[in-house]
């Protein structure tokens, strides 16, 4: 029985979501093969080869994979599928984009966003914005699943020496054309893997006011997150949204500032180890999940907080 894991990376560096996905694969058990598909991504393949427990790194290096287009990656994964009982990818926007396509091309179901491995064919996953946890059993011969990174530890990154096998086939869809990309550059830690996240909501009031959160984040070495309301209002870019339909985070410390605590937001952060909340409304639902709640105006509390750490 073997497992094919699709690595997430930016062609230079392996993304940590892959390490968590490999932990889920290890819990399932079986030989681990990892596909690195990209353009000029040898360094990523080398990094994966050093992960203990990986049997083979499949390296598909071609310009057609530069933008991880679902049409191309799905065809590639389907070509490599034979012999694998499980196919896993992180439940990132990339994995969510191509994996259902893989499943449908194979004629099987997809289990989205697994948070626990119960057995080789049964898994737990959150439904209804995390207000219920379903245990499901897959009846298909091939199991296609995406993995919620925050629910699994990261595997070690050194000590292994897997073989790297090139995959020469290139799949290039002609009806999808990449036009452009605007990726947010930041020196701060990545939201989904940061140890501390400082998150702001509508209460922050403006893009300018978000500077307070960035200042606090920089003092703490933290990432910055936000609610949908803050993104919709244009205070911050969309890639900061935490929640049911944004990113899922589970840092050691989550500081929620000017956030009411809607279920859709809680779905993305309630697995954080410690939650602190600052809100001027003592009745805000965020206090029902916060370990430490401070009822205060954020415009007086934040400067004070920044000065005291």
């Amino acid at each position: 029985m073997s497992i094919l894991v699709i690595a997430e990376h930016d062609h230079h560096q392996l993304k940590s979501a892959t390490l968590h996905t490999l932990a889920a694969a290890t819990q399932i058990g079986g030989d681990l093969d990892v596909l690195v598909a990209g353009s000029g991504c040898q360094a990523v393949a080398d990094a994966v080869a050093a992960i203990p427990g990986v049997r083979t790194v499949l390296l598909a290096d071609a310009p057609a994979y530069a933008h991880q287009l679902a049409e191309n990656i799905a065809r590639l994964v389907v070509a490599l599928a034979p012999g694998h009982r499980h196919i896993l990818a992180p439940a990132t926007t990339t994995g969510k984009d191509f994996m259902p396509r893989v499943a449908a091309l194979l004629g099987v179901n997809q289990v989205s966003d697994i948070t626990a491995v119960v057995g080789p064919d049964s898994f737990r996953r959150p439904i209804y914005a995390g207000n219920a946890i379903a245990t499901v059993q897959v009846e298909d011969p091939v199991i296609v699943a995406t993995v919620r990174a925050t629910a699994f530890p990261a595997v070690a990154t050194t000590g292994g020496s897997a073989a790297i096998t090139p995959v020469p086939e290139v799949f290039e869809a002609v009806r999808t054309r990449f036009v452009s990309e605007s990726l947010v550059e930041s020196d701060r830690p990545e939201l989904t893997s940061a140890r501390i996240v400082v998150s702001g909501g509508r209460g922050v009031g403006s893009a300018e006011n978000f500077a307070l959160l960035y200042r606090l984040a920089d003092k703490l070495g933290a990432a910055v997150g936000a609610t949908r309301a803050a993104v919709d209002a244009g205070y911050v870019p969309n890639d900061l949204q935490v929640g049911q339909t944004g990113k899922v985070v589970a840092p050691d410390l989550y500081i929620a500032v000017g956030i009411s605590g809607a279920i859709q937001h809680l779905a993305g952060m309630k697995e954080s180890k410690v939650i602190a909340a600052i809100n001027s409304d003592a009745e805000a639902p965020i206090f029902q999940v916060a370990d430490y709640g401070l009822v205060a105006d954020l415009f007086t509390a934040l400067p004070e907080l920044i000065d005291s750490i």
Binding site: K96, R101, L183, N238, V274, L294
Partner: protein, 250 residues
């Protein structure tokens, strides 16, 4: 160009769902049901395409028991032209099963563009649109926050983890709607009345010649581990002290 839009009936997003005492499933008895918010956005987008002249007809389809007609009617009230109800008793169809049925409807209807929500807020699957695109061998753009039909192509801006990506797809194509694609209009009473007279056809998996296929078995549903609220602190100094010395996270 004809636009087909798929809508799902789900629990209203304001309702907090509860797990049944016997852990067999969630309890949906007497809870408010609505059109999935992402589907509502997909409907709005297709109606706007019609208003701008890019689309000539908007067809809305929903799969499920009789009650899904309510959601088809609300899409008709929002401006869709006609509805297709695929009648099934099964409210727990897998994404693949839904995609197979939708694929057959698409083959019959031949739309130039299919719009879906990116995710149903009950199962949180986020897979049906991608599966449909694969079954049809059509290009796809998921998580759309902007959509423009330009001749034989649709240009879509997608919300991805790192920021935004823009793709151009040759039509016909499948696009799934994210939250910031648009803000759905408020539906007025006369539109609801008018929607009652719009055509709504009924079909079934048997009529579409789509078999049941394999599934994902639901073994049980449990509540999440509840997080209990902690303490309220009186000052910023107290907060810092707790985070440093009690929680030891600073």
């Amino acid at each position: 160009m004809k636009v087909l839009v798929a809508v799902k009936r789900v629990i209203d997003y304001n309702v907090k769902v509860r797990v049944r005492a016997d852990n067999s499933n969630v309890d949906l008895a007497n809870v408010k049901m609505s059109i999935n918010p992402f589907c509502e956005i997909a409907v709005e987008e297709s109606v706007r395409l019609k208003e701008s002249g890019a689309a000539t007809e908007v067809v809305v389809v929903s799969i499920g028991p009789k009650a899904v007609q309510e959601q088809i009617r609300s899409a008709l009230a929002a401006g869709a032209d006609r509805g297709i109800w695929v009648e099934t008793d099964d409210t727990e169809l897998s994404g693949l099963a839904v995609a197979r049925l939708l694929a057959q409807v698409v083959r019959d209807e031949q739309p130039g563009l299919v719009l879906l929500g990116k995710q149903a807020i009950d199962t949180d699957n986020n897979q049906t649109g991608q599966m449909l695109a694969a079954l049809l061998d059509w290009p796809q753009a998921t998580f759309a926050s902007k959509l423009e039909v330009k001749g034989a192509e649709v240009e879509v801006t997608r919300e991805i983890d790192g920021g935004l990506q823009t793709l151009a797809l040759t039509l016909p194509a499948v696009v799934t709607a994210d939250l910031r694609l648009n803000t759905p209009r408020y539906i007025k009473l006369p539109d609801i009345m008018k929607a009652k007279r719009k055509p709504l056809a009924t079909t079934s998996p048997a009529a579409l010649a789509v078999g049941p296929g394999t599934g994902v078995k639901l073994l049980g549903v449990t509540p999440p581990t509840e997080r209990r609220g902690g303490i309220k602190v009186e000052s910023v100094a107290a907060l810092v002290d707790c985070l440093k010395n009690q929680a030891q996270v600073l």
